[in-house]
Amino acid sequence: MAKVLLFGRLRDLAGWRERAFEPAPASLLALKSVIAGLDADLAAALEGPGVRAAVDRVLVRGDCPLRSDAEVAFMPAMSGG
């Protein structure tokens, strides 16, 4: 089971903060295509400018394999300070 976390405006857009994906997709791109089948607006937002992904709390660019218990976070542009 992969756990997906959404932050900031992505969470508001999707209407959820955390969701389990069972079985866990094999890769980040596979997860995104599962999400696209559920919510096209969210899938489009995940490809928007400034959106980053972290897998098991490490920032990832492009694709990467997912462990069966992966934690994937999608994060919009950051605004601290």
Binding site: G8, R57, P76, A77, M78, S79, G80, G81
Partner: protein
């Protein structure tokens, strides 16, 4: 030292603690960010973090500043959760042998925290809530530290 705190903190106490026992440090600089009231609109901020990730990413920014400016120490305290106007949002403390490095490191750290720290800021305005995203000014501030090289593609 990196701390995310979900309630008001005492910047003076943090500064005193940071300065203690520094026999070799000639300069400590600080930056304290406050939540602006926005002309009496009573804006309340809410800052969201990714617990277990945000601290580490801010730690990487701090480590880069220590290397770049030869700092003796750095401390960052950042609020999360709801923040009322006038309350402290962020305190950055830098210690160095001399003032220039301490000042510049503070400036650098704030520019990176604004656009690179995994924190998401929501403003509760009279018209409704709004997520804040980095402004072109924030991006320009960040670019000051790593100007594009001439050979980079446009």
């Amino acid at each position: 030292m990196i701390a995310l705190v979900d309630r008001p903190f005492d910047p003076g106490a943090e500064l005193n603690r940071f300065c203690r026992g520094r026999a070799e440090t000639g300069a400590v600089a600080s930056f304290l960010g406050l939540a602006r009231g926005e002309a009496g609109h009573g804006t309340v901020l809410a800052l969201e973090a990714y617990p277990g990730f945000t601290e580490g990413e801010i730690g990487k920014i701090a480590a880069a500043a220590v290397d770049r400016f030869a700092l003796h120490g750095v401390a960052i305290t950042h609020r999360v959760g709801r923040i009322a106007p006038g309350e402290a949002i962020v305190l950055v403390l830098t210690a160095a042998a001399h003032r220039r490095e301490a000042f510049e490191a503070c400036d650098y750290l704030m520019d990176y925290l604004k656009s690179r720290a995994p924190l998401w800021k929501m403003e509760h305005l009279p018209a409704g809530p709004r997520w804040v995203e980095p402004t072109p000014r924030d991006q320009a501030d960040l670019a000051r530290w790593d100007p594009p090289r001439g050979d980079d593609p446009p």
